[in-house]
C-alpha cells in the first residue's frame, strides 16, 4: 500500500472525528434514553396491554433504527470520494426495491394486527353483568371533579333544566335507560329519545312531541333522593402551588379514589373547553369533550398513589390542572365509599343543601332559575371519610359542584 498523502491523512482524521461524533452522540442519546426509553410501569390491566404493545413497537423500531443509522454511517465512510472517477451509474434494481417494499409492508401489517387486537381488547366494554364502579370525571378550567355513583341501581343522579330549549338530561349511568321509553321523574314526564354515553336525549313536550304517560308502576325510575354521587377533594388550583418557590405540589390536588381489581368506568366530560384525563401510569388518556360524555374503562391492578394531569391544552392554568389517583384495595374502597355516601345529617340541611354548597351564588341563581335540580348532593363538608386515607380534608365551603354548571344544551335552540 503506497504512503497516503498528508491531505488524505487529514481527511481521514476528519472523517474519523465526524463519524465518532455522530456515533458517540447517538450512543450517548441511546444510553441516556436507556434510563427512560420506556413508559412507566403500568398499574392497570389496560395499561399493561398498552405497555406490552409499546415494547413490541419499541424493539422493532430500535432494530430498524440501529440497522439504518449504522448503514448510513457505514455508507458515508465506505463510499466517501477518493478520486474523480465516475462511480457505476446504477438506476435501480427491481428485486431489492420489491424486497424493501414488501418488508416494511409485512412489519406494518403485523403491527396493525397486534395493535388492533390490543385496541379491541382495551376498548371493549366489560360484560353488562360484571360489576362496575362508575366514577364521573368532570373537567373544567382548571380543576377536576370526581363523582361516585353506585351503578346498576334503580337510582341515579340527574339534573334537568327547566329551559324549554334544553332537552338533555344528564345522569350518571345511561345504561339504566332505554330509548323511546317513558320514565317518570318527580317533576315531570320525559321520553328518552336516544342515549349518547350517559347523556339522555329526552323529549319533554317541546317541538310538538307528545308525551305519553307511562302505565303506573312500570319502568318508573325515582330519580329523586338518588344514592349519591359525591365529590371528592376538589382542590383549588391556587392551593397547589407553593408561593415561595412556585413549585407545584401534588398534595392539594383533587384526588380520585379507585378500587383495585374492579373495573372502573370513568364517565369523562367537560364543562367548558377540551381537557384530557391522563395519568401516566395508566398509559391511557381520553379527552374530556364539552357537550359529550365519554367512557374510559380501566381495571386498576396496583394499590398506590399516582399522579395525573390534564393533557390537552386548556388555557392559562393548563400546567397546573393536576389530579391524583388513589388506588385502594377493594374492601378499603368499599368502606371509604360507604362512608362517603352515608346520608347527610338530617333536618334542616335537606332542602337547602344545594344552595349552601354552591360556590357562586349568581351562577346558582341562574341555574335554579333555569334548572330544577333533581337529586340532592351530599355536602362534602359532612363527608366523613376523606382524611383517613391521607388526602387533605376538604376545606369548608367547597362547592358541591363546579361553579357555573350548566347542562349541555342541545344542538338546536
Amino acid at each position: 500500500m503506497p504512503m497516503p498523502s498528508p491531505r488524505r491523512i487529514r481527511l481521514r482524521w476528519r472523517i474519523a472525528v465526524a463519524a465518532s461524533l455522530v456515533t458517540g452522540l447517538l450512543l450517548l442519546s441511546a444510553g441516556v434514553a436507556g434510563a427512560q426509553a420506556f413508559p412507566p410501569e403500568a398499574v392497570s390491566e389496560e395499561g399493561s396491554d398498552i405497555r406490552n404493545l409499546y415494547l413490541l413497537v419499541f424493539f422493532l423500531a430500535a432494530a430498524v433504527f440501529v440497522v439504518v443509522e449504522a448503514g448510513i454511517i457505514w455508507l458515508a465512510i465506505k463510499y466517501r470520494r477518493r478520486d474523480d472517477s465516475l462511480p457505476p451509474q446504477i438506476h435501480g434494481h427491481r428485486g431489492v426495491e420489491v424486497l424493501w417494499t414488501v418488508i416494511p409492508s409485512i412489519i406494518v401489517l403485523v403491527l396493525f394486527i397486534v395493535s388492533f387486537v390490543v385496541l379491541d381488547h382495551i376498548e371493549s366494554a366489560p360484560s353488562k353483568y360484571e360489576p362496575v364502579e362508575v366514577i364521573d370525571v368532570t373537567a373544567q378550567q382548571w380543576a377536576w371533579s370526581f363523582y361516585y355513583a353506585t351503578p346498576m341501581d334503580a337510582t341515579t343522579r340527574a339534573r334537568i333544566s327547566d329551559d324549554p330549549a334544553d332537552v338533555r338530561l344528564r345522569v350518571s349511568d345511561g345504561t339504566l335507560f332505554e330509548p323511546f321509553k317513558t320514565y317518570r321523574i318527580d317533576v315531570e314526564h320525559i321520553r328518552v329519545d336516544s342515549i349518547e354515553g350517559n347523556t339522555l336525549m329526552v323529549a319533554r313536550g317541546v317541538n310538538g312531541t307528545v308525551v305519553q304517560d307511562h302505565p303506573a308502576g312500570e319502568e318508573i325510575l325515582r330519580i329523586t333522593n338518588g344514592t349519591e354521587v359525591s365529590q371528592d377533594d376538589r382542590g383549588e388550583l391556587t392551593d397547589s402551588i407553593d408561593p415561595s418557590s412556585g413549585a407545584v405540589t401534588t398534595m392539594n390536588t383533587p384526588i380520585v379514589t379507585v378500587p383495585v381489581g374492579k373495573t372502573v368506568r370513568f364517565n369523562i366530560s367537560s364543562l367548558d373547553v377540551i381537557h384530557s384525563f391522563y395519568a401516566p401510569q395508566f398509559l391511557y388518556k381520553l379527552d374530556a369533550m364539552p357537550g359529550r360524555t365519554q367512557a374510559l374503562w380501566l381495571k386498576v391492578t396496583d394499590a398506590g398513589f399516582f399522579q395525573g394531569q390534564c393533557a390537552e391544552f386548556c388555557g392559562r392554568e393548563h400546567a397546573r390542572m393536576l389530579f391524583s389517583v388513589r388506588a385502594l384495595p377493594l374492601d378499603e374502597y368499599d368502606a371509604w365509599l360507604a362512608a362517603l355516601v352515608a346520608p347527610p345529617p338530617p333536618a334542616e340541611e335537606a332542602a337547602p343543601a344545594d344552595d349552601a354548597g354552591e360556590a357562586a351564588p349568581e351562577d346558582d341563581a341562574a341555574d335554579d332559575a333555569g334548572a330544577a335540580e333533581i337529586g340532592a348532593e351530599t355536602d362534602p363538608a359532612a363527608e366523613p371519610g376523606t382524611s383517613r386515607y391521607g388526602g387533605p380534608p376538604a376545606p369548608a365551603g367547597l362547592p358541591t359542584q363546579p361553579a357555573g354548571w350548566t347542562a349541555p344544551r342541545a344542538g338546536a335552540l
Partner: protein, 561 residues
C-alpha cells in the same frame, strides 16, 4: 455554455431606488423565489427566537413568565415556523428552481405568482402584528382548538384581537398558497421543455407537483374552517364550534386536520425532493429507483387525505381502526424512500460538503421522526403518548431536523445558482454540526420526557425525577442550534457580497436543467437547452451518457413559448 453570460444584466442604471422598485414590481419567478426565501428566513428567525423564550421558561420548575405570555410564545412559535417559515421557504425554492428544472421561461402565471408573494407577506405581518395590540397574539395553540379559540368573552382565554388577526392572517396565507399551488400545477403540467416527460422530471419538481395538489385540495378546507371560526368569534356566537351554544368542538378538529395533516406533507415533501436532488449529485450517481420514488411520493400524497384523524385518537370521536390502518400505510412509501436514499449512496463517490452533510443529516434524523410516528400510529400506544412531549419530539424530528435540514441543504446547494457565489464551507460545517448536535439535544430528551408523561404546552412542570435535567439539556440544545442559525445568517449575508465566486454553470456536476444555464441565470432563464432524454439531461450531456453517448454536442432547438 454560458455563451450569453456577458449580456446578463448585472447592474442597474437607475440606482438603489430603481433596484428597489424593480424588486417590488417584479414578476420574475427567480426574484420572487428569492424574496420568498428571504422573507421566510426572517420570519424563521423570529420563530426561532420565540422557541428560545419557550425553552427558557422550561429551564427549571416554576414559572418565569406569565402563562398568557408563554401560551402566546408557543402558539406563535408553531404558527410562524409552519405557516411563515417552512411552507414559504419551500415555496420560494420551488419558485426559483422548478421553472428552471423543467426548462420553462417563468411560471405559468407570473403576475399571480407575485400576488401570492405579497399576500403571503401581508398575512404574515398581520399575524405578527397582534403582538402590538392589547391582549397580545393568539394563545390557543397553533391548532386553535375551540372552545378556547372561539371564546371572545375573556373568561376562557385572554380577550383581544390576537386570535382574529391570527385567523385572518392564516386565511390570507391560505389564499396565497392556494394561488401558488394552482400556479405550480399549471406550470409543471404545461410548461415543460421538449423531451421533459413526466418521468424525466427532477424529483424536486415531482415533490412540488404533489405538494401543489395537496395545497390546492386541502387548503380551501382549512379556509372554510377558519371562516367558520372567525364567524363564531364575530357574530355567530360560537354556534359552529362551541358546544355550549350548540356547536361541535370536534368538527373543528376534523376540518382543521383534514388540512393540517396534508400540510405536514406539504412541508416535508419538498425537503424530501431537495434531498433527492442533493444526495445523487454528491454521490455522483442517479437517484436509485426513480420511478419507485415517484410512486412513493404520489402514494404519500394520496394517503395524506385519509389519515387526518390520527391526530384525534384520544378524542373518542374517531373510527380508530380505519385511521390506524391508513396511518400505518404511510410507513411503507416512507420506508421505500429511506432505502432509496441509502441505495443512492451505495457504491457512490460521496463528497461531504455542507449541502451533502445536511442531506445525510436529514436522512439520519428524519428516520427518527418516521419511527416515532409509528408509535403514534399504533392507537393504544398513542393513548399513552398523545399530547405528551413525545409528540413534540416526534414532530420536531420530522420538521425541525427533517424539513429544516432539507431547506438548509437546498440553501447550500442552490446558493451559487441564485447569487453566483458559494456559501462559505467552513462556516457551513460549523452551522451543520451545531444544528445536528443542538437539535438532537433538544428533541431526544423531549421523547424521553413524553414517555415519562410530561404533557406538552405546559409552562411549568412537576418536580419529577429527571424532568428538570432533561428540560435543561433541551434548553441548552436550543441555544446551540440557534448559534448555528445565526452563523448561517452571517454566512448568507457575507457570501452574497464577498463569497467565493462561482464561475461555472454547473459547479456541482449536477444533472438537472437549472445547471444548464448561467449562475445566476439570465432573466429569460436559458440561452439553450440540452436534449432531455432522462431525468439528468445536464449530467448526461457532460458525461456522454444516455442519449448523448452517440450524439454528443447536438443542440436541439430552444423551447418555444
Amino acid at each position: 455554455m454560458a455563451t450569453l453570460a456577458g449580456t446578463v444584466p448585472t447592474g442597474y442604471a437607475g440606482g438603489r431606488a430603481q433596484v428597489l422598485l424593480d424588486w417590488l414590481t417584479t414578476v420574475d419567478h427567480k426574484k420572487i423565489g428569492i424574496m420568498y426565501v428571504v422573507a421566510a428566513g426572517v420570519f424563521g428567525l423570529v420563530g426561532g427566537a420565540l422557541s428560545l423564550v419557550v425553552r427558557t421558561e422550561l429551564i427549571e420548575t416554576g414559572a418565569i413568565m406569565g402563562a398568557d405570555t408563554y401560551n402566546q410564545m408557543f402558539t406563535m412559535h408553531a404558527s410562524i415556523m409552519l405557516f411563515l417559515f417552512i411552507m414559504p421557504v419551500a415555496t420560494g425554492f420551488a419558485n426559483y428552481v422548478v421553472p428552471l428544472q423543467i426548462g420553462a421561461l417563468d411560471m405559468a402565471f407570473p403576475r399571480i405568482n407575485a400576488l401570492s408573494l405579497w399576500i403571503f407577506l401581508f398575512g404574515g405581518i398581520l399575524m405578527l402584528s397582534a403582538f402590538a395590540f392589547d391582549g397580545g397574539a393568539a394563545a390557543a395553540g397553533w391548532t386553535a382548538y375551540p372552545p378556547i379559540s372561539s371564546n371572545t368573552a375573556g373568561n376562557i382565554q385572554p380577550a383581544g384581537v390576537g386570535m382574529d388577526l391570527w385567523l385572518v392572517g392564516v386565511i390570507a396565507l391560505g389564499v396565497a398558497s392556494t394561488a401558488g399551488g394552482l400556479n405550480f400545477l399549471v406550470t409543471i403540467f404545461k410548461m415543460r421543455a421538449p423531451g421533459m416527460t413526466m418521468f424525466r422530471m427532477p424529483m424536486f419538481t415531482w415533490t412540488v407537483l404533489v405538494t401543489a395538489f395537496l395545497v390546492v385540495l386541502a387548503t380551501p378546507v382549512l379556509a372554510s374552517a377558519l371562516i367558520l371560526l372567525f364567524a363564531d368569534r364575530n357574530g355567530a356566537g360560537g354556534v359552529f364550534f362551541d358546544p355550549a351554544t350548540g356547536g361541535q368542538s370536534i368538527l373543528w378538529q376534523n376540518l382543521f386536520w383534514f388540512y393540517s395533516h396534508p400540510a405536514v406533507y406539504i412541508m416535508i415533501l419538498p425537503p424530501m425532493g431537495i434531498v433527492s436532488e442533493v444526495l445523487p449529485v454528491f454521490s455522483r450517481k442517479p437517484l436509485f429507483g426513480y420511478r419507485a420514488f415517484v410512486m412513493a411520493t404520489v402514494g404519500i400524497g394520496l394517503l395524506s387525505f385519509i389519515v387526518w384523524a390520527h391526530h384525534m385518537f384520544t378524542t373518542g370521536g374517531v373510527f380508530l381502526p380505519f385511521f390506524m390502518a391508513s396511518t400505518f400505510l404511510i410507513g411503507i412509501p416512507t420506508g421505500v424512500k429511506m432505502f432509496n436514499w441509502m441505495a443512492t449512496m451505495h457504491k457512490g463517490s460521496l463528497h461531504f460538503n455542507t449541502a451533502m452533510l445536511f442531506a445525510v443529516g436529514f436522512v439520519m434524523l428524519f428516520l427518527i421522526g418516521g419511527i416515532t410516528g409509528v408509535f403514534h400510529a399504533a392507537v393504544p400506544v398513542d393513548f399513552a403518548l398523545h399530547d405528551t412531549y413525545f409528540v413534540v419530539g416526534h414532530l420536531h424530528y420530522v420538521l425541525a431536523t427533517g424539513a429544516a435540514f432539507g431547506i438548509f441543504a437546498a440553501s447550500y446547494f442552490w446558493f451559487p445558482k441564485m447569487f453566483g457565489r458559494f456559501l462559505n464551507e467552513g462556516l457551513g460545517k460549523i452551522h451543520f454540526w451545531s444544528m445536528f448536535i443542538g437539535t438532537n439535544m433538544i428533541f431526544w430528551p423531549q421523547l424521553m420526557l413524553g414517555l415519562d408523561g410530561m404533557p406538552r404546552r405546559i409552562n411549568d412542570y412537576a418536580d419529577n425525577p429527571g424532568w428538570e435535567l432533561m428540560n435543561q439539556i433541551a434548553t441548552v440544545g436550543a441555544f446551540v442550534a440557534m448559534v448555528g442559525a445565526v452563523i448561517f445568517l452571517f454566512n448568507v449575508v457575507h457570501s452574497i457580497y464577498w463569497g467565493e465566486k462561482c464561475e461555472e454553470d454547473n459547479p456541482w456536476d449536477a444533472g438537472t436543467l437549472e445547471w444548464a444555464t448561467t449562475s445566476p441565470p439570465p432573466v429569460y432563464n436559458f440561452d439553450r437547452l440540452p436534449r432531455v432524454r432522462s431525468e439528468r439531461p445536464v449530467f448526461d450531456e457532460r458525461h456522454g451518457l444516455g442519449a448523448y453517448a452517440s450524439s454528443e454536442g447536438e443542440s436541439p432547438p430552444q423551447t418555444s413559448s
